[in-house]
């Protein structure tokens, strides 16, 4: 299985150092949640790992050729942009672009991937509607389906559940979890500590210009770290219904 490996990755944008010397490796089957306050560099880390930002150090993805990379990693940017009123099906089919040669038409296999992604995100009955006329949450699901249709061993998504209702937040996170269980390597940035604690197999916490903690949720989401990095108190318990993390108060 393909791994995502970063070694001593550093990014400086406009002479401001965003983070330095981030080294980590994510293997197949891992569902990694990337957490950190606003401005801690979550998006920058993922974009640098993709190789679309100038950086120092190495990333296993940035070394690939653009077309090879597109078949290795699917990337869901935070900005949910759908410029034209194309049908939901057509948007999801865009995920198959990296697998098609120039001028090649989608095959039955490509259509099967699109159908699977659509039904996974519960979009079957909207497949012919214009994607721009859907609600924000529905558009988010369309874009997740697009990333799923790309059918890559690595999946990276920047705040994929922001703006979704609770049911769709949970089902979306679950489908990312299932993809990881099926052997893919999944890296997702999140602001919801509760979702991260409950569903991710591993959490990366960003702050102080780098990764401050890396490990299973219970080891990362400690009161000290939450106080230091986020400036909050939180209630964390391993209950009989799984781990629960609920932020409580601001302490600074």
């Amino acid at each position: 299985m393909t791994n995502l490996t970063l070694s001593r990755l550093s990014v400086t944008l406009r002479r401001r150092e965003v983070f330095r010397d981030v080294s980590l490796s994510i293997g197949g089957g891992e569902f990694v949640g990337l957490i950190g306050p606003n401005g801690s560099g979550k998006t920058t880390l993922m974009r640098a790992a993709l190789g679309v930002l100038p950086h120092d150090g190495t990333s296993s993805l940035a070394r690939l050729s653009p077309s090879r990379r597109a078949r290795t990693v699917a990337w869901m940017p935070q900005a949910r942009e759908i410029a034209w009123p194309v049908s939901v099906e057509d948007v999801v089919m865009l995920g198959r672009l990296p697998h098609l040669g120039t001028g090649q038409r989608p095959s039955a296999n490509d259509r099967a991937h699109v159908d699977k992604a659509l039904s996974r995100m519960e979009l079957d009955d909207m497949r012919h509607r214009a994607a721009t006329r859907l609600s924000g949450g529905e558009q988010a699901r369309v874009l997740i389906a697009r990333a799923l249709a790309q059918d890559t061993p690595i999946l990276m998504a920047d705040e994929p559940v922001a703006g979704l209702d609770p049911a769709h937040q949970i089902s979306t996170i679950r489908s990312f979890g299932k993809l990881a269980e099926s052997g893919k390597c999944v890296l997702v940035s999140l602001h919801d500590l509760g979702l991260a604690a409950r569903h991710c197999t591993r959490i990366l916490m960003m702050g102080d210009g780098g990764i401050v903690a890396d490990g299973p949720p219970r080891d990362v989401l400690t009161p000290d770290r939450l106080a230091h990095v986020f400036g909050i108190t939180a209630w964390y318990r391993d209950t009989d219904q799984g781990p629960v993390c609920q932020p409580l108060e601001v302490i600074r």
Partner: protein, 327 residues
């Protein structure tokens, strides 16, 4: 989709034939076609081959160019208000042509004007690429285009301002309105090679433009090289619009309106819009060029004036329709 392609192709063919048949010398269908193809060396052959054929060919070439470049520009900028003139090529080509008229170069030899216009277009596109830089976002390209457009516009005004007599100014103003009247096969041969290069470059963009529907970041992650895409777009547009402006003057609104009309008919897919707009643009310019000959045959109505007159209300109608749908 196939039905649209067939309908547009048939429309272009029908309008092309109509364009060959419309003119002050009222000649029958079979008579004029036999004069065109067989060529008995008589005056009718001359009319068909030297006057009407280049006119119809240029209408197809320029219309296709404007439609294709408009669809590509809108797709790249993800903005339905973009048009091929946005990168300043038509403005700088017009400045070159105006300079040729002013200096008397256009009167000195027949292709002086189009050649000067091409030089202007080349200068304009080089300036835009220099200003926008190799990387950068679509926004820097728009800003560079606006800067070059307004520079070329003000220089054109300066030439008009300093024109020695009202007749020179008159000629410049009329040329800038855009027309296909009195063009020769020399104009066709001058424009065609550049347009072929431009069409080739722009036709390659479909895949990248489709991916750009999801934004620049997502497109890049899907393996689309944004630098190469932009370079092909700018050079391709410069080739087709520069050559078109050089031989016919500025013909507005085609590159803006045609993609807009056809977008709903191709499911809004930017790649499909490329070929649809190519055919649609050719049909629109052919129709407009027939109209200028039929509506006011004695007054030399300018093609660019007519496309703007028809295009503006059509565009307003589309905006109103879109506004109603949004609510």
């Amino acid at each position: 989709m196939k039905r649209l392609a067939v309908a547009l192709t048939l429309a272009v063919i029908a309008l092309f034939m109509a364009s060959l048949l419309v003119g002050p010398a009222g000649v029958g269908l079979s008579e004029s076609l036999s004069a065109l193809f067989r060529g008995d060396g008589g005056p009718l052959t001359l009319v068909m081959r030297e006057i009407r054929l280049p006119r119809a060919l240029l209408a197809v070439m320029i219309g296709a160019s404007l439609g294709l470049a408009g669809a590509a520009m809108q797709g790249y900028l993800r903005n339905p208000l973009a048009e091929p003139g946005l990168i300043g090529v038509s403005g700088s080509a017009a400045f070159g042509a105006v300079l040729a008229i002013h200096t008397g170069l256009s009167a000195a030899f027949a292709l002086g004007l189009p050649l000067m216009a091409l030089a202007g277009a080349l200068l304009g596109v080089l300036l835009v690429m220099l200003l926008a830089g190799p990387g950068g976002t679509s926004l820097t390209l728009i800003l560079a285009g606006i800067a070059v457009s307004s520079l070329a516009g003000s220089l054109t005004s300066l030439v008009l301002n300093l024109s020695p007599n009202p007749f020179a100014a008159n000629e410049i103003v009329f040329w800038m309105m855009g027309s296909l009247a009195d063009r020769s096969m020399a104009h066709v041969w001058l424009a065609l090679p550049l347009m072929l290069v431009g069409w080739g470059l722009l036709a390659l963009l479909g895949r990248g433009l489709d991916a750009l529907t999801l934004g620049e970041d997502a497109a890049e992650a899907m393996g689309v090289g944004l630098r190469g895409l932009r370079l092909k777009l700018v050079i391709g547009t410069a080739c087709v619009v520069g050559a078109g402006t050089a031989v016919a003057g500025a013909i507005g609104f085609v590159g803006l309106v045609v993609p807009h009309i056809l977008r709903p008919l191709v499911g809004a897919r930017p790649s499909r819009l490329l070929w649809a707009s190519t055919l649609g643009g050719a049909a629109m310019v052919l129709a407009a060029d027939i109209a200028v000959r039929v509506v006011l045959p004695a007054r030399d109505l300018k093609l660019g004036v007519l496309t703007a007159l028809v295009g503006a209300p059509l565009f307003l109608h589309l905006i109103l329709k879109q506004r109603r749908e949004r609510i």
